[in-house]
């Protein structure tokens, strides 16, 4: 039996956990940055991997067909109802229509429009683009994008914050330790957002190390010694060995702040359905389901994956069985959409245009990194929107060298490029219009969080034929919040209060005082059980119920 303290590695971080006896043998949990409770479940250093294979194995067990290497190019819709998607076989190039009463976008985030990202290469925002190109579905909070301070260069793989926690130093091109200059008190241990911004600021001041892959800084952990690194930072050593060919016991590690997570996505209601296009659902990082607001806490992306997967899956099934789901799917409409995509691909391969998709994409990535990154300001964002719109216009003149319609990476880039640019424009325009700082969205020219004017959700949509997306805002009702806006202790307090915040906080305090029981408190503050799929309305057994 293995009880009490145990040394484990979580997210590349070696920590000691003390497990409650009562929790022995349950799925392991821990606390995580910004959380007070043991609420993050994990499996060794491969939580996502374990979840993915469990689901995939069960899909095979249920004999559910999976059509691999198929890419949706367009959603089939009539302006009100989604009828499925036009899909391209990435091997044969064949186009076909998938007619469906419910269509779910679960394509992950849009980190790759930055080029420098910890995301997989396929996270190019194609799901968001599909929704955007309907002209009716809306994207939420696209400007809310998280950056992580220390990803290695060039691979973009994260090295743990434990490197700095244990005493590692950030150095610039002169070997100078610069963090104490900016943050004399916390130095390298300031919060993730602050360290990322300071690193970016220092590189902007010309102190970055030039390399074949762009500028970076150094993370030096050699002062920790071989024994410590071998014992406590083994994963960092492995990453350095496999992806850089260096030994962090002797060599500094090239790092820079890197795009990490997309909080924005296809705006849905709590059931995962688009309020503007019936039958279109979305979940996971692809969706704006309101799990993260403008910043995401560690562990919450896998939480969203597993919870949204479970709930939205059930809601989709319920929808298909309900009267709303009894849709007359139109083969004629599907044919029209397939023909439109076929014509567009044929035109693309026949285009003798002089523009290079590779060059336009590289420029987009640079604009996003320089002007729509960690630091944002009105002038830069204005120029980013102008330049991205120009790139979008130029993307129509992309010429191809290989014009076969089957497996053809050049063709794939050519048709994805304008879609990526449209997604990039929703981010840049959202960031330009939002004249405040909130979560991961930081405006140098508007450093305060302005709850009075900006406690709202950005909605982006793209009317057909327009050269820019349109933005709209959906306000939030403070008087219905379980946790009204307040200062959460990150950084300096700089908030323009919402007039209702104090009133709602008083109400909440009163309820908390009057109702010590968590269930009656929850139903007084924010009842939700009635909104859940029927099979999930039961009361969850909790370890602490016995003791409380």
């Amino acid at each position: 039996m293995q009880r009490g303290d145990r040394e484990v590695v979580i997210n590349g971080q070696r920590v000691t956990l003390t497990e409650k006896d009562a929790a022995h043998g349950l799925i392991t949990a821990r606390d995580f940055g910004g959380t007070r409770k043991w609420r993050t479940c994990y499996t060794s250093d491969g939580t996502g991997h374990a979840m993915l294979y469990t689901v995939s194995d069960q899909v095979i067990g249920e004999a559910i067909p999976v059509h691999e290497r198929m890419e949706a190019l367009a959603l089939i819709h009539d302006g009100q109802q989604c009828h499925g998607a036009v899909v391209r076989d990435l091997i044969s190039g064949e186009l076909s229509a998938y007619l469906a009463r419910a269509t779910v976008v679960a394509t992950g985030g849009y980190g790759r429009i930055w080029g420098i990202s910890t995301n997989a290469l396929i996270n190019e925002g194609m799901g968001a683009a599909l929704a955007l190109e309907t002209g009716v579905a809306r994207l939420g909070n696209m400007e809310a994008v998280q950056f992580h301070p220390t990803a290695i260069v060039p691979a973009g793989i994260l090295v743990t914050e434990g490197c700095r926690g244990d005493g590692g130093l950030l150095l610039d091109k002169d070997g100078h330790r610069f963090m104490p200059d900016y943050e004399p008190e916390k130095k390298e241990l300031a919060s993730r957002d602050v360290v990322s911004r300071r690193m970016a600021e220092h590189m902007r001041a010309g102190k970055g190390v030039p390399s074949a892959y762009g500028e970076h800084l150094w993370l030096d952990i050699s002062n920790l010694g071989a024994a410590h690194i071998d014992k406590n930072l083994r994963e960092v050593k492995d990453i350095c060995r496999y992806f850089l060919g260096i030994d962090p016991v002797k060599d500094p590690i090239p790092v820079r702040p890197t795009q990490h997570y997309s909080m924005g996505g296809v705006r849905t209601d709590h059931r995962g359905e688009s309020p503007w296009l019936h039958g279109l659902f979305s979940c996971g990082e692809a969706a704006c389901w309101d799990m993260h607001g403008f910043n995401r806490l560690g562990g919450n992306s896998v939480a969203e994956t597993v919870v949204a997967g479970m709930l939205v899956g059930e809601y989709v099934a319920d929808y298909c069985y309900s009267s709303h789901g009894q849709v007359d799917l139109s083969p004629a409409l599907a044919r029209q959409f397939v023909e439109r995509e076929r014509a567009s691909l044929t035109a693309l391969t026949a285009n003798a245009g002089s523009e290079s998709a590779v060059a336009l994409r590289a420029r987009m990535e640079q604009i996003m990194t320089d002007k729509v990154g960690l630091f944002r300001n009105g002038a830069d964002l204005e120029s980013a929107v102008g330049e991205l719109a120009d790139l979008l216009a130029r993307s129509k003149q992309v010429g191809l060298r290989a014009n076969n319609l089957d497996a053809n990476p050049e063709l794939v880039l050519a048709y994805r490029l304008p879609r990526m640019l449209k997604v990039a424009l929703t981010v840049a325009l959202g960031a330009l219009q939002r004249t405040e700082s909130r979560g991961a969205h930081f405006r140098e020219d508007h450093p305060a969080r302005n709850d009075r004017d900006w406690l709202n959700r950005t909605l982006a949509f793209w009317p057909e034929g327009d050269t820019l997306p349109s933005l709209d805002y959906e306000s939030l009702d403070v008087m219905r919040m379980e946790l009204p806006p307040g200062f959460r202790g990150y950084g300096v307090k700089n908030i323009v209060e919402h007039p209702a915040s104090a009133e709602r906080q008083a109400e909440v305090d009163e309820v908390v005082e009057a109702k010590p029981d968590r269930y009656s408190r929850q139903s007084a503050l924010m009842p939700f059980k009635h909104l859940l799929p029927v099979r999930y309305r039961g009361r969850n057994a909790r370890l602490d119920d016995a003791s409380s």
């Binding site: 095979i60 691999e68 074949a212 880039l413």
Partner: protein, 239 residues
């Protein structure tokens, strides 16, 4: 320093695109991996070159290829650790899509269906109750085998798989070992024997153990195969 990449090219759907080797030359940059090199070849020399990378961080298994004669993950192979001339071929044993891209997904699905490689619970869980408890040591042992990323290197490195297209490979046997270990799985050794107790399964293995040598995740394939063979032989002989 210049580096030559001899890359296999072929589009099986195009008669005018026969199998051949094309040489590309790149300037070596510090920290260059095969992912960076192939991306650069595609971006600057030949936009039609097909290959697969998804996570580019050694965890998705998409980029396995034969690198100077040895199956491995291209994303975490540094060019500086290879000779000046590098040869890249698609993994053998899988359907060729084009150039370095092969359809491992189709093969893995077929293998999983044949081996019924999914957890078959003794009883359906109650969603409102606490989860069933498992000893942490057991959970760790299962996870050790669950780390497989289905990259296909073990199949490409397997002598039997080159002769028998229906051989389930180390990836398949590892899966059986994983579910056999799991106390939640309802299946008995007699049932596992029906799945894996023949020449397409555990008795097809010649113990050359190329799989063990090339596994990028360093899974304990040698031990697992030996252990499974012994258990299945016992099951076959004694019932």
């Amino acid at each position: 320093m210049k580096r030559a990449f001899n890359v296999f090219r072929h589009n099986p759907r195009d008669a005018a695109n026969p199998p051949r080797v094309v040489t590309y030359t790149l300037e070596e940059t510090p920290g260059m991996t095969l992912f960076i090199a192939l991306t650069r070849i595609r971006e600057t020399l030949d936009p039609s070159l097909s290959f697969d990378f998804v996570c580019r961080a050694g965890i998705c298994g998409s980029c396995a290829m034969v690198i100077n004669g040895r199956p491995g993950l291209a994303c975490r192979t540094l060019t500086a650790q290879l000779p000046n001339e590098i040869s890249l071929f698609p993994l053998p044993g899988f359907e060729l899509i084009a150039d370095l891209s092969v359809n491992t997904g189709k093969w893995m699905r077929g293998m999983s269906e044949r081996l019924q490689a999914w957890l078959q619970l003794r009883e359906q869980p109650d969603v409102d109750a606490l989860e069933a408890r498992m000893e942490p040591a057991m959970a760790d042992a299962i996870y050790e085998l669950d780390r497989c990323i289905e990259c296909g290197c073990c199949v490409a490195g397997c002598g039997t798989a080159q002769m028998r297209p229906d051989f389930v490979g180390a990836v398949g046997m590892n899966k059986i070992a994983r579910f056999r270990l799991d106390p939640r799985d309802a299946r008995t050794d007699a049932e596992f024997f029906d799945l894996v107790g023949d020449d397409t399964g555990i008795f097809g293995c010649m113990s050359l153990l190329g799989c063990h040598d090339v596994c990028p995740k360093e899974l304990p394939l040698q031990t697992q195969i030996a252990y499974l063979r012994r258990s299945m032989a016992r099951q076959g002989l004694l019932g």
